[in-house]
């Protein structure tokens, strides 16, 4: 079933991709092939391979139970929040929070996870910023 969904989505993607390719505006100078042809070839490739996957699916992969999927989703949300928090809260604070969360969800007891998060964050800050001179996100407190 998973492979049939993959094949179906691939077909939709191929159709969308080819449609978008035909909408590309040509400029007044162009080579004989132009900017549309290669994307259309790719679209056909994606379409054909998706069709093959749809018609001849492999055995079903082992999907995790719903709770785990939800957890993966939550982690994705935390990562997105982290990306937004970086410029406002600064590197050390946001990284400590995100790393603690990840460590906790991977099975560390909460207090230890918080310590691990702080150690990871400060460790990266010291090695990459103070020693190697990489510029990291600056927050309101300058770190």
């Amino acid at each position: 079933m998973s492979d049939r969904i993959l094949g179906g989505l691939g077909l939709l993607l191929a159709v969308f991709f080819i449609w978008q390719a035909t909408l590309i505006k040509e400029s007044f100078i162009s080579d004989p092939v132009g900017p549309k042809t290669f994307p259309i070839i790719i679209g056909v490739l994606v379409g054909l391979s998706s069709l093959a996957i749809f018609l001849k699916p492999d055995e079903e992969p082992e999907w995790p139970e719903f709770a785990r999927l939800f957890e993966v989703g939550l982690t994705i949300a935390v990562m997105i929040a982290y990306a937004y928090a970086l410029p406002t809260a600064g590197f050390v604070v946001s990284t400590a929070v995100a790393a603690s969360y990840l460590s906790w969800r991977l099975g560390t007891p909460p207090v230890k996870a918080a310590i691990a998060g702080i150690v990871i964050s400060v460790g990266i800050y010291v090695v990459f910023h103070l020693i190697l001179g990489l510029s990291l996100a600056r927050g309101p407190w300058g770190f």
Binding site: S2, D3, G10, A14, F17, A21, I24, K25, S27, I29, D31, P32, V33, P35, F38, P39, I42, G43, L45, V46, L48, S49, S50, A52, I53, K56, D58, P61, E71, V72, T75, I76, M79, I80, Y82, A83, Y84, L86, T95, A98, A99, S100, L102, S103, L106, G107, T108, A116, G117, I120, S121, G123, I124, F128, L132, G133, L134, S135, L136, A137
Partner: protein
């Protein structure tokens, strides 16, 4: 003799204080990366690229650092294979078959030392192979025109799909996805934006470093999150005694022919585009088993079963550098990542690299020889140090990996948008791995898409729109024929290679 002179010049470049230091750091980090389950050569190198890039290293030192990591990871993968029965990375999968039984018999130290020596032999002779084969390939490549390059790229995708994956349709889909992603952004020849939906951030296209770190490194974090608490994610090395760290001479004598065969087979597997180190170790092990396993001792801790795959995968690592440097077409996942770094540094690999930047090529090759000796020293007397690193549980390791990935990408662009795209690629990579869609063709597509299109259009411009120009030279026809058979034969031939591999690699790190 030109080659040897060039190599001597290479040594004078590599033997600076900075480059030696970088090689040492690279070998050390690489061994750790290889040894830790969940971090392998391709995602290890992927995380380090943005860092090497933002630190402002010039091309040669950056390449020395990262290829040392690559070679080191090939050495390191065996450590957890032998001690924990968990391959540290995919190429080390075959080493578990005899390495772990040896460790259970109390011969862990011998197994580690023997595999270290086998790794050295494989990597050392493969580097010599690189020295002599790459310049020959460059001579051939100088005859290539745009049509031939277009065919060569097609060949790389075809063999990648045909030989190295279980389902050709999925490999083709992966290649299409990668190529499609490469199309995003302003068209280099006419200046019109494509697939950017009016989003200014997309006009420059998707940065391939963002895609690589997301697909390889972040997806690993999701895999671990999913398998939390199961034995897949953790191992226990505390119960195993290392024992003596030197194999007896008789064992070395017994395994010497095995190492020689493994090296040759591995090197050939590495040179083939798209095959890579996993195939090298697999072929080396299975051929050796067929040749010398008279008493059915393979799989029960036969030293030859440890030496063969280790010589094979290290030789393949060297072999995979040949097409990457000489043609600009990588032979495996990790060399694709190395290609990404060269492109990020504005160096285009291929025949011109050898004439325009001989210092980069030969400095790198010399550094590989030096790194190899460092690795041998690190991996035999100091192996217990790395064994201790293995005891770091993934629940501390993976958050650090994720955060370093973010640091690297943020360091390049300082843009939240790129981080979003990276998280998106992480999710995509996780889903594709679950569905057994290989990631290497995706990366190859993202990396080579624009060049592939440019070569096609250049060939068309020369012929003024005549499509038969793509198959007008014998060289191009030969490449297309190879591509065709490389893709089709494995479908007919019952997927001779991969079907025999244990079904573990969909969730393991690709080499």
């Amino acid at each position: 003799m030109d080659t040897l002179n060039a190599l001597a010049d290479g040594f004078s470049i590599a033997l600076t204080f900075q480059n030696l230091g970088l090689a040492l750091i690279g070998c050390f980090l690489g061994t750790i990366i290889g040894a830790l389950p969940g971090l392998g050569p391709s995602n290890g190198v992927a995380i380090l690229i943005p860092l090497a890039f933002t630190l402002g290293l010039p091309a040669t030192p950056a390449l020395i650092l990262l290829t040392s990591v690559y070679y080191g990871a090939m050495y390191g993968g065996r450590i957890s294979s032998i001690l924990l029965n968990i391959p540290g990375d995919e190429p080390a999968l075959m080493t578990t078959l005899d390495g772990y039984p040896m460790a259970k018999k109390g011969m862990a130290g011998e197994a580690l030392a023997l595999s270290g020596i086998a790794s050295f032999v494989g990597a050392f002779f493969a580097t010599w192979g690189l020295v002599f084969l790459a310049p020959q390939l460059v001579k051939v490549a100088l005859l290539f025109g745009p049509a031939e390059y277009f065919a060569l790229f097609a060949l790389a995708f075809a063999t990648l799909g045909g030989i190295a994956s279980r389902n050709q349709a999925k490999a083709a889909l992966a290649a299409g996805l990668g190529l499609g992603i490469a199309m995003i952004g302003v068209d280099g020849q006419t200046g019109v934006p494509r697939f950017s939906f009016g989003e200014v951030h997309l006009y420059d296209g998707i940065d391939f470093l963002v895609a690589i770190v997301g697909l390889f490194a972040l997806s690993e974090v999701f895999i671990f999150l999913e398998h939390r608490g199961t034995t897949k994610a953790t191992g226990d090395a505390s119960g195993i005694k290392l024992g003596r760290l030197m194999p007896p001479m008789s064992m070395l004598k017994q395994t010497a022919p095995t190492m020689a065969r493994g090296t040759v087979l591995g090197f050939i597997a590495g040179v083939l585009p798209g095959a890579g180190a996993s195939l090298g170790s697999f072929i080396a092990y299975s051929v050796e088993k067929r040749l010398v396993d008279k008493h059915n001792t393979f799989g029960t801790g036969d030293p030859r079963g440890v030496a063969a795959p280790e010589a094979g995968n290290n030789a393949a690592a060297g072999g995979a550098l040949v097409p990457m440097l000489a043609l600009g077409v990588p032979g495996s996942g990790t060399t694709a990542v190395l290609l990404a770094m060269l492109l990020a540094l504005n160096i285009t690999p291929g025949p011109l690299l050898f004439t325009n930047n001989p210092d980069v090529v030969w400095g790198l090759i010399a550094a590989l020889f030096i790194g190899n000796i460092m690795l041998l020293v690190m991996n035999i007397p100091m192996v217990s140090l790395f064994v201790r690193v293995l005891l770091v549980p993934p629940r501390y390791l993976m958050p650090a990996v994720a955060m370093i990935s973010f640091v690297g990408i943020y360091g390049i662009s300082g843009s939240t948008f790129d981080l979003m795209v990276m998280v998106g690629f992480g999710v995509l990579g996780w889903l594709l791995r679950k569905l057994d869609v290989p990631l290497v063709p995706v990366i190859l597509g993202v990396l080579l898409g624009n060049q592939m299109e440019a070569n096609m259009r250049r060939a068309m411009t020369i012929s003024d729109g005549d499509w038969s120009a793509l198959v007008s030279s014998p060289l191009a026809i030969g490449l297309w024929a190879f591509a065709f058979f490389g893709f089709i034969l494995p479908i007919i031939g019952g997927r001779f290679f991969r079907s025999k591999l244990p079904r573990a690699d969909s969730e393991a790190d690709p080499d």
